[in-house]
Structure formats: structure tokens, C-alpha cells
């Protein structure tokens, strides 16, 4: 058998296939000619390509068939159209006409009857399932209790009661629902409910992934989670307790993911207001402590003033914070003219960049800044490496992250829209195979820099282009050091730290590390041996 791994034609064909490697016309012609005449090469190439595709797909994780799920769950029989819409329209018009009417179990509204009839007629093939019902009430407490503890609820049936608590389980999906009265909902199917009024909490096991809760305003598709939905005549709201859900609008706009801890309101005008949340799903980390120690690397948080009279409208407004600070970086952090129009918060101490920071400016006393133009924390000082040697940074930030050593930028790990990334031309290598916190972009790494026995000056910029929900991670690698690796082979480089974190922060960082390991297959370490020592904190 031919040893293809040493066959240059085979390797060139692979590089052309996988990497679009540029080959001369003559080379392409000769490769195609060989391919036509060599069945062994064709077979080995085909096997290699198939296997590469399969390993890519397998490692990409379980695909979410959102579009397919929508079709499967739409309740639309294969050869009819608009069934679901007709139900939703009836429910909607009912809501508008009788918003003050209180329904009580087992009284059924005409909507429920209509829904039941339509479902019964359109799903005649599921008679057996309908007989068994789609959900079973486990517990019902409170006013208008029917007394039938084991009541079976059928597909299309409306369920309502004035006051109390109901607990039910869906037969096929195993979804567990706890509702609080006053409650009014329709069991659209074994994997879908329409909530018109009240509050329900759902715990969705793996086999129930894809369970849908409809309200007038939105469609909430479970993606393996526990969440609470409330609905009333004014709108609906959702709180994600665990996992994540997809929130779909009642139009063709794409779904939006909400993750653990996120809460949002939806009004009848279909506006969504995110009340609190961690869109990235990354655990939140406390902002730097107020206490500044002699050993602390210190910094200032900077932003634009809210008062536009203090701004040069043409110069500042269109720039944003990262562009405003470009001259500072370009002059090796020497010229600070560009900071003149900015305001700053209290001095802060550096305790690493890791996780999500939702209230960084506020906690650092930068309260009156213009959040639309962003903020940046600038840490600077003289530090000494834990051991002499060559080092390089790894990391990523949403939005801005830059580190300079002795005035020269050695790492830039900002998001795609940062001026640091687009206008400074700093060496950067992207490693999408090493997952970062909240993007498929992956880790970036900087170039090696020398850190000998003496101290080096470090300048570190980290911040946000607008609003909040900032996240980032900054790790450091020492050349030649052996690091423990993750399952996928990513070294667990240590966080770049100048002080060992306090107990509370260690717990937060542990939560972050667990999140990374469980959700994105990344990791990092915290090591006393990797601490950089501060000799001068500002």
C-alpha cells in the first residue's frame, strides 16, 4: 500500500482542499491528472476528507436545529398552513376583548374550545396520545380546586384557576411545570404551552429540550434549562434560572439567546427590555477593591463627560474611547494630551482581567460618564517577573484589551470593532481553537517579550466601547514552562496577576473556571508562582 503521508501530491491536494493553498496552473493540472489515473490516491484522499469532516462535526458539539425545531413544534400539520397562526389570532383577539375577565377552572373559554376542536380534528392520528393526555397534574392547591389530583390534561385543553398553585408533568418530554394562580394557559401540545396570564416555572430535562412557552409577545424556546415566565394584560417577562433559552419574536426576526441570570420584559408593542442579565453567560466578577496597597498595580478609569459642552463635538463624539486613547499608545504612553477632555473615577487596583464586569464604571466611581462612548481602565506601574525569561500574553476582551511593556504594545486582544485592533497594527495571532469567553473568535496571543531580573514598566488598557456587559480574560505564558492542559489540549496558563486574589475573588474565579471548563472547554489557572511583583504602582 502506498505511503500517502509522504506523497507530496497527496499533501498538496489536502492543502488545496482544506486551506485553498495557492498552486500554479501547471501544478493543479498535474495533480488532477494524477488523481484521474490513480484510484489509490482517490480513495485515500476521499477517506481523509470524509474523516476530517466527521471529526469537525463531532467536535463542534450537538447542533441546535432551531429552524427545524420551529417547524416541528409549530403545530402546523404538514399539509396545512396557518393552523398555529389561527389559534394565536383567536387567543389574541380573545385577550383584547376580555382582558378583565377572570377564567376559572374547569370553565373553558370559547378559545379553548375552539383550540381543542381544531386540535382534535387536525390531529386525529394522535387519538391514543390524546386519550392519555399530554400532561398530568401532580398537585393542585388553592381556590377552585377541582379535587381531581390526578387529572389528565389533553392536547389543546385550556387550564385556568384563580388562586393557588399547580404542579404538573408533561408525559413525553418530562417537563415539570409549576404554576401560580391566577393562571390561564392552553396546553398546545406535548411540548408547547400558551401562557395567557399568570406565572409558570419550568424545569426542562434533556429530553424536553425545545419545549416552547408562547405568550402574546414572544415565543420562549427552551434549550436545556429552568426558567420562569409571567404574563398579564400588559406584557410578559422571563427570568432564566439555569441554562439558556431562545426568545423569538412574533415576526421573522431571528431568535435571541438569553442565558442564566438574564431577565427581560416584553410589552405589547413587542419591545424587549433586558432588566438584568449576563448576556455572555460568563460569571460576573467583582470590580477591583477600593483598598490600594503598596504592592498594588494601580489604575484609573476614564470616560467622556456626559456634559457635551465639555467635549469637542467633532473630535470626540465620533471617536469613542479607544480611538481617543490611540495617541497615548502611539507615544509609548508618554503624551497624555488626549486625556484632557476625559473624566476619571477613583484610583483602582489591578486584580486581573477575568470574567464579566457589568458594573465596572459605577463601582469605580465613574458615575457621570457618557456610557454611549465607553470607558477604559488604564493600569500602569513597574513590575518584576516571577522568574527571568520570555513571556507572552493570551486573552480576549469584549471590547478593548491592550498591554504594553516598556511603552511598546506586546498584546492586543480586543474585539473586532476596537480602534486598538484596527488602527495600531500590533502583532496578534488568533487561536480560534482555544475557546474564549463569549465568542468563537478564540484567544489571541501577543509576541514574546523579555523580562529579566530588573523591573519592566507595564501599561494595561481594558474597557468597553459602549454601555456595559464587559468581559475579558488575560493570561500569561512563560516560554519553556510546562502547563497542565485541558481535555482539548489547551494549556491552563495562569491569570496575569500582581497580587494573589482574596478568598472571595478566588471563589469567583473558581466559578469562572468551572464555567469555562463545563461550557466552552477552556480553562486557566491561578498560581502564586506566576505572580508579578509590583515595585511601583503608578
Amino acid at each position: 500500500m502506498n505511503n500517502f503521508e509522504k506523497d507530496q501530491d497527496f499533501l498538496d491536494l489536502l492543502s488545496a482542499w482544506h486551506e485553498n493553498k495557492n498552486l500554479t496552473p501547471a501544478r493543479r493540472k498535474s495533480l488532477l491528472a494524477r488523481l484521474m489515473n490513480d484510484p489509490g490516491l482517490r480513495q485515500e484522499l476521499a477517506r481523509e476528507i470524509e474523516m476530517a469532516g466527521l471529526t469537525r462535526a463531532a467536535q463542534a458539539g450537538e447542533h441546535r436545529w432551531l429552524e427545524l425545531e420551529e417547524i416541528l413544534q409549530s403545530g402546523i400539520p404538514q399539509n396545512s398552513s396557518g393552523f398555529e397562526n389561527s389559534i394565536m389570532e383567536k387567543l389574541k383577539s380573545s385577550s383584547q376583548k376580555s382582558s378583565k375577565k377572570v377564567f376559572s377552572f374547569p370553565q373553558l373559554s370559547w378559545i379553548g374550545l375552539a383550540a381543542s376542536f381544531i386540535f382534535i380534528f387536525s390531529h386525529f392520528s394522535n387519538e391514543q396520545q390524546d386519550k392519555q393526555g399530554v400532561a398530568e397534574i401532580i398537585r393542585l392547591e388553592g381556590k377552585k380546586n377541582s379535587g381531581n389530583i390526578k387529572r389528565i390534561l389533553a392536547k389543546g385543553e385550556e387550564f385556568s384557576f384563580e388562586q393557588g398553585l399547580v404542579e404538573m408533568a408533561f408525559r413525553e418530554s418530562g417537563v415539570h411545570l409549576v404554576g401560580t394562580g391566577p393562571l390561564q394557559m392552553t396546553l398546545v401540545g406535548n411540548d408547547r404551552v400558551f401562557l395567557k396570564k399568570g406565572e409558570i416555572k419550568l424545569v426542562v430535562p434533556p429530553q424536553g429540550i425545545g419545549f416552547v412557552v408562547d405568550t402574546m409577545e414572544r415565543k420562549f424556546v427552551d434549550l436545556g434549562t429552568s426558567f420562569v415566565v409571567q404574563a398579564n394584560t400588559q406584557g410578559s417577562k422571563v427570568l432564566v434560572l439555569d441554562g439558556e433559552i431562545a426568545v423569538g419574536a412574533r415576526n421573522s426576526r431571528p431568535s435571541q439567546l438569553m442565558r442564566k441570570g438574564s431577565m427581560a420584559d416584553f410589552d405589547r408593542g413587542s419591545k424587549m427590555k433586558l432588566r438584568s442579565g449576563i448576556p455572555s453567560g460568563v460569571p460576573e466578577i467583582s470590580v477591583p477593591p477600593r483598598v490600594l496597597r503598596p504592592a498594588s498595580l494601580t489604575g484609573n478609569i476614564l470616560g467622556f463627560p456626559k456634559d457635551p459642552s465639555k467635549l469637542d463635538r467633532n473630535k470626540d463624539f465620533n471617536h469613542g474611547i479607544s480611538r481617543q486613547l490611540l495617541p497615548l499608545v502611539q507615544t509609548g504612553f508618554e503624551r497624555e494630551d488626549c486625556l484632557q477632555n476625559l473624566i476619571s473615577g477613583r484610583p483602582i487596583s489591578f486584580n486581573g482581567i477575568a470574567g464579566t464586569y457589568n458594573r465596572f464604571p459605577e463601582a469605580a466611581s465613574l458615575r457621570t460618564y457618557d456610557s454611549k462612548l465607553g470607558w477604559l481602565a488604564w493600569y500602569k506601574g513597574k513590575i518584576k517577573a516571577p522568574q527571568p525569561g520570555r513571556y507572552r500574553f493570551w486573552g480576549y476582551a469584549d471590547n478593548h484589551l491592550l498591554v504594553a511593556v516598556n511603552g511598546k504594545p506586546v498584546f492586543e486582544g480586543s474585539r473586532y470593532d476596537s480602534a486598538f485592533r484596527n488602527e495600531l497594527n500590533i502583532f496578534r495571532n488568533n487561536h480560534p481553537s482555544f475557546p474564549c469567553l463569549n465568542a468563537r473568535a478564540g484567544f489571541a496571543r501577543g509576541e514574546w517579550f523579555e523580562a529579566e531580573e530588573s523591573t519592566v514598566r507595564v501599561d494595561l488598557l481594558f474597557g468597553e466601547s459602549s454601555q456595559n456587559h464587559t468581559s475579558g480574560i488575560l493570561l500569561i505564558e512563560r516560554e519553556g514552562e510546562a502547563y497542565e492542559k485541558t481535555y482539548w489540549g489547551q494549556p491552563k496558563w495562569p491569570l496575569f496577576l500582581t497580587e494573589f486574589p482574596e478568598e472571595k475573588q478566588v471563589a469567583e474565579l473558581d466559578a469562572l473556571r468551572i464555567h469555562m471548563e463545563e461550557n466552552i472547554q477552556g480553562s486557566f489557572s491561578i498560581s502564586r508562582d506566576a505572580l508579578w511583583q509590583v515595585s511601583s504602582g503608578s
Binding site: 491536494l13 485553498n20 493543479r28 477517506r47 476530517a52 469537525r56 450537538e62 429552524e67 417547524i71 404538514q78
Partner: protein, 192 residues
């Protein structure tokens, strides 16, 4: 991951779905999802495109299910739909294709029968073992296989691993042979 049940009968599921129990279609997706995604990932450069095409394949499969002839080969029928989606994708992107894209299409044309044969060799019971087999690879090889997932360029990988780009393809080729063997025999993958 697909279940490794040898008793899986797609025709039975198709009959149920066509009969109105469309929830059962998820079983087909679960059983053949990785096969279709792998088939498309092998042929499309961007993984996201492959995932979209896989979804479109199952959406079309669902809508055309009543035209599937029971008793024939469901897997082949499904892959023919995936192939049709792929052709459509190539047709749509043809206008943007550069010389090397066209060369890839030429390669694909030249080895089409072999690719189909290679795809057929990957039985679903074996595919189910793939992740377990990957986990048995040495760290360095596993990292390399993982790097292919996000489209890390071979030059970048070669620089990072301090080897020549050709060596990346060689290591990957060896790893794939080891994985195939592991999937067939369920034996530990040899060091690569």
C-alpha cells in the same frame, strides 16, 4: 450523538411521522444528524455553512418525507438530499469562487464516487464511537484535530507546534487512520 442501536428502523419512524406524529422526526435527526453534518463538513470550508446546510437538509427531508419509498435505503435517500443542498450551495457561491475554489470543485468531481464510498463506510454505529476514540489520542494530536474545528490555518498551527505545514497534514492523516481503526475495532488508538 447518534444512538448506537442496531435495531433502529428508520422506515418505522418515517411511517409514524408521515402518519402525523411529527415529534418522532427528532429520532431521525438524532440518529443521522452527525452523519449529515460530517458529510457536509467534509465538503464545505466553513463549519457554519455546513451546519446551515445540514439543517436545510433535515427541513427538506421533513417536508418530502411522504415521498420516501419505504423499504428502500433511508440513509442513501437522506444523503442524496444533503448532496442536492450542497450542489445548490456550490451553485449559489460559484459566482464568488476563485481559481482555487474551482480547483476544489474539480477535486470533488474527480473523487465523487470514492467520497460516497468513504461516507458509506462510516456506519452510524462506528460514528458513535468517534468522540471516545478522539479522547484516546495523544495530547498533541488531539489538539491538532481540535484546531481543525475552528478553521485555524495550518501555517498558524505549524508555527505554534514548531513543525512544517506538511507535517500537520501528515499527523492529521495518521490520526484519522488511527481513528478509523479505533472506530472499527473499538481498540485504543495507537500513538500518533
Amino acid at each position: 450523538m447518534p444512538s448506537s442501536s442496531t435495531n433502529f428502523n428508520p422506515d418505522e419512524i418515517v411511517r409514524d411521522v408521515v402518519g402525523g406524529n411529527k415529534d418522532r422526526f427528532r429520532l431521525l435527526v438524532k440518529e443521522y444528524g452527525l452523519l449529515v453534518r460530517g458529510y457536509l463538513s467534509a465538503r464545505v470550508y466553513h463549519l457554519e455553512d455546513a451546519e446551515d446546510l445540514a439543517q436545510e437538509t433535515f427541513v427538506v427531508t421533513f417536508s418530502k418525507l411522504s415521498s420516501y419509498e419505504l423499504g428502500t435505503n433511508f440513509r442513501a435517500w437522506l444523503l442524496s438530499i444533503a448532496k442536492f443542498q450542497l450542489s445548490n450551495h456550490w451553485r449559489k457561491t460559484k459566482g464568488r469562487a476563485n481559481t482555487m475554489d474551482k480547483f476544489r470543485h474539480d477535486i470533488a468531481d474527480a473523487i465523487q464516487p470514492e467520497m460516497m464510498k468513504a461516507s458509506n463506510e462510516l456506519e452510524k454505529e462506528r460514528i458513535a464511537k468517534l468522540l471516545a476514540c478522539i479522547s484516546k489520542l495523544p495530547d498533541r494530536t488531539r489538539h491538532l484535530i481540535r484546531a481543525g474545528l475552528d478553521g485555524v490555518r495550518v501555517e498558524t498551527l505549524a508555527e505554534e507546534m514548531k513543525v512544517k505545514p506538511n507535517a500537520i497534514y501528515q499527523i492529521r492523516h495518521r490520526a484519522h487512520i488511527a481513528l478509523r481503526k479505533c472506530m472499527e475495532t473499538n481498540e485504543p488508538t495507537p500513538a500518533t
